[in-house]
Symmetry: C2
Subunit: 340 residues, 2 copies
């Protein structure tokens, strides 16, 4: 059942003993939302905890405080934040499949697995929704005037006050990480407006920005350097072929965490419209990521090699060496260009 | 003479034929402010132009429109935006030394060289000041209530409306470039609030963000890769020594534009507190940039080698090879650490 933000607030005011779930491989949005909602509910006098998530990295350690649920906590209400489907539950949330009472989310693809869902698909971060929800929960709101005397929308403006800092900081984490610090296309006027309101509370955004946007690991920077050393450009520099071999990974002592989202790296190269990142996964097996910014349909290109995805971000697997993979993807790109 | 924003608006409403100056090696803030102010003045029916700046790079070509002053334009009033001193004038502005009628700036170090100066040293970007100024210029403002009936501040809230898109876009350029797209420490609640208001006008911030924050040149990325290949870490990884040799520059066909602000690059390395970037400028001569984030005073370190600067960003020149420069700066760092 889809419910409004007002009804979401009424629901949360009514019960007690909340357990809040975050999604698999949790990011700053799901973690920030869970912590802010947990602390907000506690300010209403409720018991509330965030379910520990086995995928949470050390990067988020500074934010948890005392929000993590102790073992054996039995919730009266289970709330999922920023989780589009039960398939995205972390291992720790498996027992709560089919038992989520309320889901608050911003993914248009949300599968409606919860008893109640409040979805705002136009928001860059779920944190924007939690911000508005906490306003309703924590600050006394005027009664909407009774119909038919006036249009409620015209006369009834919700009260907006500054949140406490302990709620504002995780929400800033949520907004900033989901927008690459306000640089991604999903950033909206609402994102900036709320970021301003959160900063007004006096929180230390410097530390958050430094930790999440201005720091890279040594290995990550070496990997990026290696990619540039071996990058191939085609078609007047509009196509970039980047490769990471097993030897590179071994030489640089790199793990999966060091190549996370590495497919986005060659796309920042000036003039590149199609960025292909090839990873040698095993001898004779390469995984390819294709990112395009204009014209070319990445999904069609990858489909020719047995893969697929979105028009601007797709992937496929090629049997063969890195050189084989390069030849195969170039041929596939040319074929799709020829059709276009 | 220091003047208020209100008096700045009154001054600009009074005269005509404005020429707007930008600073040497112009950035998005000075350029964005000049263009927005120029177009704002034209909306008041004034003639206004921006003085061409020989240092403006192609990166800013999309923004100028028809704002650049034709040769022979004789202004009745010269306005400088985002220029702290006459020493920062571009070559083209040399004839206007001692002739600036109005300066609008956010640098606390502003030298007061103009006949009238409106300075707000707490703003991240000069664009924030121009935004507020354009509100006063373009939208009818209520009269402040007469003293002593009420405190003007309490009752008189200036009107804030959405600017036209052609003014909003250069102001977004100003705010975003001066804050690294809202990631630098100077970003304030006001920066975010105004960014939201500018985005509300429907401008295409995606293109601005892509151009200025999500694009790097091939040579720049190769230089960064080379730095990582040769990076030295000292003192448990808290000190990074990066070097760019003449050979690197030649091999990668790099020019000055490719190493602009390169001193900031090694500082993003996880765990690094002191980042030293060494550039071999000529055989036997190295220029060093020292950036520190905690504890160590970079200015003291560089002073030991005949240089200086700020506590967190300083520089010096060392006679000798890159190896000599590394040894010298490490010794200087250790000496300052020993004193501390």
């Amino acid at each position: 059942m889809d419910i409004t933000l007002q009804d979401t607030a009424l629901y949360l005011k009514e019960l007690d003993n909340y357990l809040i779930l975050t999604h698999r491989r949790p990011d700053g949005d799901t973690i920030g939302c869970a912590i802010a909602l947990c602390l907000g509910l506690r300010r209403l006098g409720k018991r509330a905890y965030v379910l520990p998530n086995e995928g949470a990295t050390a990067l988020f350690a500074p934010y948890w405080g005392d929000t993590l649920a102790p073992e054996g906590f039995i919730p009266a209400s289970v709330v999922a934040v920023d989780i589009a489907s039960e398939g995205l539950f972390p291992q720790s949330a498996e027992p709560y499949r089919g038992k989520v009472d309320l889901c608050i989310d911003h993914h248009p693809s949300n599968e409606g697995y919860a008893a109640r869902t409040h979805l705002e698909g136009d928001k860059a971060a779920c944190g924007e929704i939690i911000y508005a929800l906490l306003q309703l929960l924590l600050f006394p709101q005027p009664e909407p005037p009774a119909f038919p005397f006036a249009s409620p929308k015209a006369l009834w403006e919700p009260v907006e006050l500054l949140l406490p800092q302990d709620l504002a900081l995780p929400l800033y984490l949520a907004l900033s990480t989901d927008t690459g610090c306000f640089v991604y296309d999903n950033t909206s006027p609402n994102t900036h407006r709320i970021a301003g309101k959160l900063m007004e509370t006096g929180i230390d955004t410097t530390q958050v920005n430094k930790r999440h946007f201005r720091t890279k690991s040594y290995t990550r920077l070496r990997i990026e350097g290696r990619i540039m050393e071996t990058l191939e450009l085609h078609q007047q520099g509009t196509i970039a072929l980047a490769a990471i071999t097993l030897e590179d990974m071994a030489q640089l002592h790199a793990g999966e965490v060091d190549v996370e989202d590495i497919a986005a790296f060659p796309g920042q190269l000036e003039g590149v419209q199609t960025a292909v990142t090839i990873r040698e996964m095993a001898p004779g097996e390469c995984r390819l990521s294709v990112r395009t910014t204009a014209g070319l349909n990445a999904s069609k290109v990858c489909a020719l090699l047995g893969g697929g995805g979105h028009a601007q971000a797709s992937g496929c697997t090629v049997k063969g060496s890195v050189a084989d993979a390069k030849a195969a993807i170039l041929k596939a790109i040319e074929q799709v260009q020829g059709e276009g």
